[in-house]
Symmetry: C2
């Protein structure tokens, strides 16, 4: 934990931070969150994350507890107080604390706003270079996965199940037989230089990094196909990877013990990682074109 | 809130109770709960609730944080300190606080155990006598509703939606077109003296009060049919009711604006309520037989 976190108007050491026993985040999972990477001092895709945060809140009929500009300031201020340049900024907003009742509390109930800036070294992520092993598992989540709530127990169970079976992460599979996403990232496969990922719907979370990848593919003239794919198709892929705000683009080197490609980080995963890093750090001035023969 | 709640080894005033910001109940919904009624000093169906608590924990690969006998003592002690004879005892157990990670934390991570004994007057529940209006809504929950987790946002949204539409509670309807349960209780209908309720599966929580009703029906020679029913069938029912640990047996007087029976508490709901009250308070010595002509 960092020296200070932000909680409800105060910058406090974690040991002094206290969540109310009746906070609706704790009793009902009535809360949304975001994770924003601060990479070498740059808040990666900040606008996209704050847009999605506002959308999640709106879907649950919750207001923003502070103005967007205030939230931007609070993130920077808690980083400054911790003297952090590299962090995974965790933001959680709940409907506040109120006597336990399934009905929403009075609209003037003060919401909980918590910001934990975890130290995070983006330059030394073994998984980005070595890749991860995936185990597929049934997707047992609720039906509004497009809202970034803290109803994360199913994802936690999926990841733990993967780890218990010698893998690093899970790909969840819907009753339709198609992959939805990883426990906390979007799932992609690559076949014949085509990048394939599940289309946006209520079935998956619209990843902010996923959206940036869409854009990068477009700008780099890479073929991106938004369609469902099954584990069987993924086993035969040339490459596979996951995207998220912290691990960015992580190669998948095996799925259910089927080796993907040569079992190492693929060219497209590396290209997209390098491009995304440059974009996220504000260093990407010009458009870069992907050469399939690279 | 009562004067004291129990939290992690201490009896504390609620204002002094503090949940860790990284408690997995708060970050992931990684927690289970129970609500046990204390009616005139009797813990209603205590064994059933503790059995289900142990089952929920076991399904999530969590141990009991204390021995069952200790938990029984803690409930009584917090009631004693509050001088309470009538309470809804809320118990929540989480996997504890640990650095945010979808993987489960180390097994020796101290779990969180919280007991809040809410003041609750079982003798003055308007809904038990006047009934409630129901609005049906899509059941959007995850697939393990048989585990009593705090992933309750969908139920909270369902209830709030019902209230926003002039009803008191929601009946959730699965994609199969059949009613699963109410936001926090099991759903029943009665037709031609037959009591109908959805069979036990992963689709619903096995209510402790529901189980007692099963037993009471059997002992009283009342016909109980465990099968699915659709809203359309419910609209035509002679009676309908919900069962839970706090509201016990609550008559349903309308469903989607269709009046049920004569729009008042029905005979069977009243009979079962009286029987259950006697059973819950340990006053039910002899078997009672239901006379359909009553």
């Amino acid at each position: 934990m960092p020296r200070y976190i932000y909680l409800n108007g105060q910058y406090v050491p974690p040991s002094h931070a206290s969540i109310h026993p009746e906070d609706r985040g704790f009793l009902f999972g009535d809360a949304v969150y975001e994770v924003i990477g601060c990479i070498h001092g740059h808040l990666a895709d900040e606008t996209g994350h704050l847009d999605r945060l506002e959308r999640s809140l709106s879907e649950l009929h919750m207001p923003m507890p502070v103005e967007r500009e205030t939230l931007r300031f609070l993130m920077r201020e808690v980083l400054r107080r911790n003297n952090q340049k590299n962090a995974a900024i965790y933001i959680q907003i709940t409907r506040g604390a109120a006597k336990r009742d399934f009905k929403f509390p009075a609209p003037d109930t003060p919401q909980t706003l918590m910001i934990i800036p975890y130290d995070f070294n983006f330059d030394e992520q073994a998984a980005v270079h070595n890749g991860v092993k995936i185990k597929t598992t049934n997707d047992i989540r609720w039906k509004h996965r497009d809202i970034k709530t803290v109803l994360l127990l199913p994802q936690s169970m999926a990841k733990q199940n993967a780890v218990d079976n010698g893998a690093d992460d899970a790909w969840m599979v819907d009753p339709d037989g198609f992959v939805t996403e990883a426990s906390a990232s979007n799932a992609f496969i690559v076949k014949d230089s085509k990048i394939i990922t599940r289309p946006i719907s209520h079935d998956i979370l619209r990843g902010i990094t996923r959206t940036a990848i869409e854009k990068l593919c477009h700008e780099s003239n890479m073929a991106l196909e938004e369609r469902k794919f099954a584990p069987q198709e993924a086993y035969e892929a040339d490459e596979a990877f996951n995207t998220s705000a912290t691990s960015l683009i992580v190669p998948v080197i095996s799925i259910d013990d089927h080796q993907i490609g040569n079992g190492k980080r693929g060219k497209i995963a590396k290209f997209l990682y390098d491009e995304y890093r440059a974009y996220a750090e504000g260093l990407r001035g010009k458009q870069v074109h992907w050469e399939p023969g690279l």
